[in-house]
């Protein structure tokens, strides 16, 4: 590339060789690495707002999106992140092809690995799937969500959104509300936020709370009003609608009454509260549109923007290691 976009020299000065080949869990990170990744991502946010967004950090590299579970948002976020860094990006949805012919996860991964990708972004419905894959391939594996276990790039982009909104993460009081039991977003956020010094609360009905969640070092609330009282951030989780028809909660309207986020409940939080949601939202079920669309409280659109930048930071850091390998 002949000329770098404005300010990029400084951003690139912040890339650091990542000490691991894979990006699987927030628990693999330490606070210094998280800060470095967030600094780098901050730079990419500026880049992404310019007309010329393209770099050649990943020039010649191939990024493969391997999504066993459909996801428009995360997949396109990784695709854009890869492309903006100059990588060739291929999207695979094995759900509709080889898996149905009886090929196992490992077989699919080994086959794709033979095509020499440099970065493999994986989403799968089973906890531990990304880690399993990483043991069988030679490229870098990025966990884009494994079952109910982790979604580490989501936690990173959430941290980035919070840090930009408040200027810090340490000391923030964050309530994560809703279907914690099935949420990989919650697990990754708990790990990363605690590491960065935030106070984390989990809020939801007992049926949607993992057993012994109180031993995670968080405070657990089954009363949302108490749970979000005085919180700086209220992070809502997505709840699958079929879980609400008398399965995990009696009905949508009952759920919204007690665990949906509306103005009235939000008034109990800190005056400067920010609302987050990993998306896609069930409006009127877990969150009121009135709250979700209010730019003075909602960070939801920011989160999407930060997603691309955070993923660029992860890709650039992993690639920095690839080059040294």
């Amino acid at each position: 590339m002949t000329s770098l976009p404005t300010g990029m020299t400084e951003v690139l000065g912040r890339t650091f060789p990542f000490p691991r080949r894979h990006f699987l869990s927030v628990l693999d990170l330490n606070p210094v690495e998280v800060s470095d990744l967030l600094d780098l991502a901050d730079g990419f946010v500026s880049l992404n707002r310019q007309t010329s967004k393209k770099l050649d950090l990943l020039k010649g590299r191939t990024l493969m999106n391997l999504f066993f579970e459909a996801s428009t948002r995360t997949q396109s976020s990784f695709e854009l992140a890869g492309k903006r860094l100059g990588a060739d990006v291929v999207n695979m949805s094995p759900r509709s092809s080889s898996i149905s012919k009886g090929e196992t996860l490992i077989d699919t991964a080994v086959t794709l690995n033979a095509m020499q990708p440099d970065l493999l972004v994986v989403r799968h419905s089973s906890s531990g799937a990304a880690s399993l894959l990483s043991q069988k391939v030679t490229c870098s594996v990025i966990n884009a969500g494994d079952g109910q276990h982790e979604h580490p790039t989501q936690a990173l982009l959430d941290a980035l959104s919070m840090r930009r909104a408040f200027g810090r993460i340490a000391g923030l009081r964050v309530a994560i509300c809703g279907d914690v039991l099935h949420s990989r977003v919650a697990r990754s956020n708990v790990g990363l936020l605690q590491m960065m010094g935030a106070e984390v609360r989990l809020v939801g009905p007992p049926t949607l709370m993992p057993a012994e969640a109180d031993r995670w070092g968080v405070e657990v609330f089954h009363d949302m009003r108490k749970g979000i009282a005085g919180c700086d951030v209220v992070m809502m989780l997505r709840l699958q609608l079929e879980r609400m028809d008398g399965v995990m909660a009696p009905s949508q309207r009952e759920y919204f009454r007690f665990f949906g986020l509306d103005r009235e409940k939000l008034a109990l939080a800190a005056p400067h509260v920010r609302v987050m949601h990993p998306g896609p939202m069930n409006r009127g079920v877990e969150i009121d549109s009135d709250v979700a669309d209010d730019p003075s409280v909602s960070l939801i659109q920011d989160q999407v923007e930060m997603g691309v930048a955070a993923r660029m930071a992860v890709l650039a850091s992993l690639a920095a290691r690839l080059e040294n390998a």
């Binding site: 196992t104 996860l105 490992i106 799968h124 089973s126 906890s127 531990g128 799937a129 880690s131 399993l132 494994d146 079952g147 109910q148 276990h149 982790e150 990989r184 697990r187 993992p210 057993a211 012994e212 969640a213 031993r215 995670w216």
Partner: protein, 431 residues
């Protein structure tokens, strides 16, 4: 050709039936134990004897493992009767009782005949089938319990599947009692257990694994025990693994109900944290428990509340295990590691050697009416010679089983089987 007589000299005889654990010698002739020298040598021996000088190592009755799966008939890629028999011989196990959930299910006498015939041809260890309690092991209609009993089944069970319908289990228990046939049942509430791959708790929660609370075992066991009280039939509790269920078992035993319980060597040896980074070799059914449940299980074994230890040998090939944790097949091979893994409690000083050996020899043999499991004159010469102190590092790839799914892979254990004898024939000898 009759096997050459063998004289074991300079050995440590461990015989739970007589309570003897001490130096001695033993003579094998015509497939039987011809003489037992507790604390003394044998008389003058002729030239035709093979003399085995044990150098002080343990000579015990061969192990009787009453919960073994193979893949024959139906899924021979997992394990055949031959490969399982070889694994048993290498592990000092001289009698195995097979689970009926094969393909076809052992729910009528011709399948029993098939297995017994195959075992006779293989002629390694004693192989006995257990029959299904219900047709197809589906828990709906009673299988031919009487005919299978006549054909040689040692007990009836639906293996991993609990009989959910209480009316069906009641009838199975009542009917089996008429033939004095033992019924084994897995205590697991099917609704709480549905889809579970781990035990509910902090670990499973953090790992995002679908899980079952330990009380699922107690809930079903309490029902089973009530049905035992109603019918007066004997019940074998198939793998008890939780502290809460052990409480129920203890109450039942104090009240004198005819109940016998097993646990598996896997649940005695591992806890949920061993799952680590989703190691599917640690996926069992019932799932591996937390440490407090494991400790309670060991304690119950020490006090005799748990009667029998089984290997729960369940071969699963790589293609069934190399999957995400919740999709992987449960079960572990265990025939070859049962004895050294059990000896860990002896080496820890937790349970006396003779009590450990009793749980895998005399007790299961007596329960099923087998003449084996003892070092007595006239008993079948089913023996294991084991160097208790020899260190072994388990290498799953070197196990004899066709499937290598051993959770003990890489573990350092103490106790190496040097020789296994079945009916006076040497079926395994360590080089």
């Amino acid at each position: 050709m009759p096997a050459r007589p063998i004289a074991f000299v300079n050995v440590r005889l461990v015989d739970p039936a007589s309570g003897w654990d001490g130096p001695g010698a033993l003579l094998v002739k015509n497939g039987k134990i011809a003489e037992v020298g507790q604390g003394h040598d044998l008389g003058t021996l002729g030239d035709d004897f093979e003399v085995v000088d044990g150098g002080g190592v343990m000579l015990a009755p061969g192990l009787v493992d009453i919960r073994v799966k193979t893949g024959e008939p139906g899924t021979e890629t997992k394990e055949t009767l031959k490969s399982a028999s070889l694994a048993a011989a290498a592990g000092g196990v001289t009698s195995i009782v097979l689970q009926p959930d094969t393909d076809p299910v052992v729910d009528e006498p011709s399948v029993v005949d098939f297995i017994l015939r195959r075992a006779r041809d293989i002629e390694l260890v004693h192989v006995y089938p257990a029959g299904a309690a219900t047709k197809g092991a589906k828990g709906e209609r009673m299988a031919e319990i009487g005919l299978m009993h006549e054909a040689g089944c040692l007990y009836v069970t639906d293996a991993d599947r609990p009989i959910v319908n209480s009316k069906v289990l009641r009838r199975v228990l009542a009917y089996a009692k008429a033939f004095d046939t033992l019924v084994a049942h897995r205590p697991a509430d099917p609704w709480l257990s549905a889809g579970a791959a781990a035990t509910e708790g902090e670990f499973a929660g953090r790992m995002g694994l679908p899980s079952v609370p330990p009380i699922a075992e107690k809930i079903m066991l309490d029902r089973d025990l009530a049905l035992v009280e109603l019918t007066g039939a004997r019940l074998l509790v198939d793998q008890i693994t939780t502290a809460c269920a052990l409480e129920s078992l203890q109450r039942a035993k104090i009240r004198g109900l005819p109940v016998v319980a097993t646990t598996s060597i896997n649940h005695l040896s591992f806890n949920e944290v061993d799952i680590g980074d989703y190691r599917t070799f640690l996926k069992f059914d019932p799932p591996v428990r937390g440490e407090s449940d494991r400790q309670a299980t060991i304690e119950a074994l020490a006090t005799g509340l748990i009667d029998i230890v089984v290997s729960a040998h369940a071969p699963a090939p790589a293609e069934d295990k190399r999957l995400p944790y919740d999709e992987a097949a449960p079960g572990a091979v265990g025939l070859q590691t049962l004895l050294p893994a059990l000896l860990a409690f002896h080496h820890e000083g937790r349970i006396p050697l003779i009590d450990l050996i009793r749980c895998v020899t005399q007790r299961p043999a007596d329960l099923l009416g087998l003449p084996a499991g003892r070092l007595a004159k006239g008993a079948p010469a089913d023996l294991v010679l084991c160097d208790l102190n020899a260190p072994v590092v388990i290498d799953a790839d070197k196990l004899v089983s066709k499937s290598k799914n051993s959770p003990f892979d890489g573990r350092r254990l103490q106790g190496a089987v040097k020789m296994t004898v079945v009916d006076g024939r040497v079926v395994y000898r360590r080089d």
